[in-house]
């Protein structure tokens, strides 16, 4: 097929309405697939679809071009319905080279649409992808799909001809060509992308023009090629009325912190060390200094955590963020924060482990480290957001809990919600609760200031250095309750260990009860936490529609657990705990509540598919 013979007039096409579509863009790391995916997400969100995304990129910035290792993908699910996951199977796959095709074709639905850049299917690329022959030439494997071979490289070069671009510059625009084609296929309004190009490349008019031409070229190609006889529309979703924006988990965390600082009138000191997938929090927050935020890129993870302890002692809202390997390094200083009882938040954006593991892939395998990963008896509250937008609320809750109970709090995000995007209802400023930061200003005994004199919730006061009359010393050594003086006596250590643990356990009295999705009792309770919310909720709803007596609870508070968890666990015949690890929450639940909870684990660096959880529910029910 070539562009020259394009006789079909646009009127001959027809438009089909569909509810939910899953698209995946994939290509070389340098092909701009993350950008194409982000733009598609944006226009779909602005159009009013519900969207959910799954970026999936290699750990290497530029693995050798054309290899399987270098393939970068971005999956978007967009719908006229409310959705909770980026979709199990792909409806339309855009593959920019043979390696991308090879590593992604298995996820394309039978009968799905495959759009390939046929120019990239030449000898050396085929060889790098491990193809003996060109799969586009009569390979029966592709017979199950609607295949569109599009010479994207050549068409993009044609589109930008005359702008005086180098070939490399011209070829860099082909992601916009692919995007334009998919925009046409799904009836998207390209205006938000055109605006973005203008804003991004305004100072480089040639590049801006080239990208616009490539985008338009792609749309026009779809419009005028007979191969695409159908295109689709996906109506806006009936989301709750209100104003929406697109948000990723890391953006939401940064925004949540900046707003917390501003509303509480306290300075926020954020210390971090670059690590995937947490670095974006530092990037985003460093732009928000005018909210009263200081950002500190420390020399290492230990320094970031130590500075967080120092900043908390100094009287700031103190936060650090990292991922598993960094949290390991922070362990000792987290213990210091714990024993000194200073307020701070430690964000762990979990990724595949152990060690360096899978830096860019998601996992939930740091839960037990969050529970127990410090020397000594060192329990800390743990909060886990469930969606990208929920990160905004979770970080504020974590900060509030830290300040109210004078303790470090761990926030467990993961790579999936950190980089994933969803439409998020913009809250009213009045609905955001300020965090009450209260420092003690006068000595609390006749004997002067006692830093560990506790209130009825066992919480000690927070004195800001610089306050006259409250001079005091704290540290990592065991201390006498009340005075805070160093004390090693056996009774005191037991008393202090117990007191610190009771203080954290008591937080259960201040968090909301679990809400059950479904009946309060039945055959099976699915218990999940963190970023697996969408897949578990959807799978349970599907099972409920089949008439199964299945309910779902999603834990946002992991330590302490909500008070009604035990009753709920014991009100169902079976308990299933799906997790992206080897069963960490189930270990805790089994030991704490003596219930025979079944773990369903997946540890592939990928989120659950709805079907996987759904099938497991049915399987378990039948046993």
């Amino acid at each position: 097929m070539s562009v020259a013979d394009l006789p079909l007039s646009p009127e001959d096409r027809h438009k089909e309405s569909v509810d939910t579509v899953v698209i995946r863009f994939c290509g070389d790391s340098g092909d701009g697939m993350q950008l194409a995916g982000t733009q598609f997400t944006n226009v779909s969100a602005v159009f009013g679809n519900d969207v959910c995304t799954l970026p999936d990129f290699p750990a290497e910035i530029r693995a050798p071009a054309g290899t399987i290792a270098g393939v970068s993908g971005f999956q978007i699910c967009f719908s006229s319905q409310e959705i909770h996951t980026p979709g199990d199977e792909v409806d339309t796959l855009v593959a920019m080279n043979p390696a991308a095709l090879k590593s992604n074709i298995a996820d394309l639905k039978r009968g799905g649409t495959l759009i390939v850049n046929e120019d990239a299917f030449e000898k050396s690329n085929l060889k790098k992808a491990g193809y003996e022959s060109n799969p586009l030439d009569g390979d029966e494997n592709l017979a199950a799909f609607r295949v569109h071979k599009v010479p994207m490289t050549r068409l993009t070069r044609d589109a930008v001809e005359g702008l005086g671009l180098s070939q490399t510059e011209a070829d860099r625009c082909k992601n916009f060509f692919a995007l334009g084609l998919v925009y046409w296929l799904y009836d998207r309004d390209s205006k938000p992308t055109l605006d973005w190009i203008e804003a991004k490349f305004g100072k480089k008019p040639k590049i801006a023009e080239a990208n616009v031409r490539a985008l338009t070229g792609g749309s026009n190609f779809g419009f005028s090629t007979e191969a695409f006889t159908v295109h689709y529309e996906v109506a806006p979703a009936k989301l709750a009325a209100g104003k929406y924006r697109k948000i990723t988990g890391n953006e939401a965390l940064a925004m949540g912190m900046a707003i917390a600082a501003r509303l509480s009138n306290a300075d926020l000191v954020f210390s971090g060390y670059p690590i995937t997938p947490a670095s974006d929090i530092l990037h985003e927050l460093s732009k928000l200094k005018h909210f009263g935020v200081s950002t500190f890129q420390a020399e290492d993870e230990i320094a970031a955590m130590s500075a967080t302890c120092g900043a908390a002692f100094g009287g700031a809202l103190a936060v650090t963020a990292s991922s598993g390997p960094g949290i390991c390094l922070k362990g000792e200083a987290m213990g210091l924060g714990m024993i000194t009882e200073l307020p701070m938040v430690i964000i762990d954006v979990q990724r595949g482990g152990p060690s360096t593991g899978l830096p860019t892939k998601t996992e939930q395998s740091d839960l037990l480290m969050a529970f127990f990963g410090r020397n000594g008896e060192s329990p800390l509250p743990i909060i886990a957001p469930q969606t990208p937008g929920d990160c905004f609320w979770a970080i504020q809750e974590a900060l509030r809990m830290a300040v109210e109970f004078m303790t470090p709090v761990i926030l467990l995000s993961d790579g999936y919600i950190a980089n994933g995007a969803e439409p998020w209802m913009v809250p009213e400023v009045a609905d955001i609760q300020p965090i009450k930061v209260k420092y003690i200003t006068d000595p609390n005994t006749d004997d002067g200031y006692w830093p560990y004199l506790r209130d009825e919730r066992l919480v000690r006061p927070w004195a800001r250095p610089g306050t006259p009359g409250l001079e005091h010393r704290i540290g990592g050594l065991e201390k006498r309750d009340g005075t805070g003086n160093v004390e090693y006596s056996p009774e005191n250590h037991e008393h202090m260990s117990d007191t610190r643990a009771r203080k954290v356990a008591n937080i259960a009295n201040f968090i909301p009860a679990l809400e059950v999705d479904g009946a309060d009792s039945g055959d099976l309770l699915v218990v999940s936490w963190g970023g697996t919310f969408g897949a578990c909720r959807t799978a349970v709803r599907n099972a409920q529609q089949d008439g199964k007596r299945v309910s779902h609870v999603h834990l946002r508070y992991l330590n302490p657990f909500p008070r009604n968890l035990e009753t709920l666990l014991k009100s169902f015949k079976k308990v299933l705990i799906p997790e992206l690890n080897l069963g960490q929450l189930s270990i805790v639940i089994r030991s704490k509540y003596l219930v025979d909870a079944r773990s369903y684990s997946k540890i592939q660096g990928k989120p659950f598919k709805v079907a996987e959880v759904y099938n497991k529910i049915n399987e378990f029910l039948m046993e």
Binding site: A45, V46, A237, K238, A241, G242, K243, Y244, R245, K246, M255, A258, I259, A261, R262, L263, D267, V269, L288, K289, H290, F291, G292, S294, F296, A298, E299, I302, A303, S306, A307, C309, G310, A311, A312, F313, G314, G315, A316, A318, A333, G335, L336, T340, P427, V429, I432, R464, P465, G466, P468, E471, H472, R473, I474, G475, G476, L477, N485, V486
Partner: protein, 343 residues
Amino acid sequence: MSTLLPQLTAKDFASDQEVRWCPRCGDYSILAQMKKVLPELGIPREKFCFVSGIGCSSRFPYYMNCYGFHSIHGRAPAVATGVKLSNPELNVWVITGDGDALSIGGNHLMHAIRRNLDINIILFNNQIYGLTKGQYSPTSPRGSRTKSTPYGSLDNPLNPLSVVIGCEATFVARSVDVDTKHLAATLTRAAHHKGTSFVEVYQDCNVFNPGAFYYASKKGEKEDNIVYLEHGKPLIFGKEKDKGVRLNAHGRPEVVELNGGISEDDLLFHDENAEDPSLAFLLAQMRHPEFPEPMGVIRNVSRPVYDESVRNQVLAAKELHGDGDIEQLLNSGDTWVVESDQA
């Protein structure tokens, strides 16, 4: 309005905690000098904050009646960074030792110094691990026979001053625990410097490494083994003030007798403000017994101060964008409205 600060004394800085260093430990002397120096600075007591790591010296904050944070091994400079970022008006002192600062905490020391955070780092160098009862430290001479090196240590020691000059320290000084007047004067100079002040104090651990610095502290011996630096003055030392240090034809230091052909004018003149760190490094490299070891301020230059710059960036951002507008931030990027069904 002006309220005169009450004149504080050394006693005001003594906490109610019993000091628990070994008898005759050099730390006592340093503590005494610190208590003497602080009241002279004209800073209210509540503005002082001592941060330490782990080790004998790191118990120091407990004995000072001001704010203090006894943190974890090696991390005091990083903790102090957080303290200073959250509370920039504080006058922050980091108390550390040779193991704490140069072994487990080497990285933090290096980075606090290169950032030029406005803190004073006092390194008590006793060339031994005291709290863990006598293992060799990163400043122990090669061949040291200690609990962990019964056949002698094999690694070359670090020279603390060379390390910090390599990190572009803006204030570098050295003193001796029992040289009380000199120590007090040196601490005072460190306190007045804006940016990171680094002071190495030769400190005697009379239990695990007694006498390591007698050559530099004992009357009758030290005169020939140390040279007091004074800005703009030649390097003269010796009981009779009859020896000096000059640079030879190759630019290397050499010890000379001040008689006959050599006059003071031929000697090396100290310039603590030299922008180029070469002189400071050369002085740091003068080690006993080949050379008299320099005491006093080796380097004192001015560079942008980190915590101040951090603060200024926040203020500049507020100046540029106004105080953070929450509404605007929430609505940044593309937004769209979903109408209710009734609409």
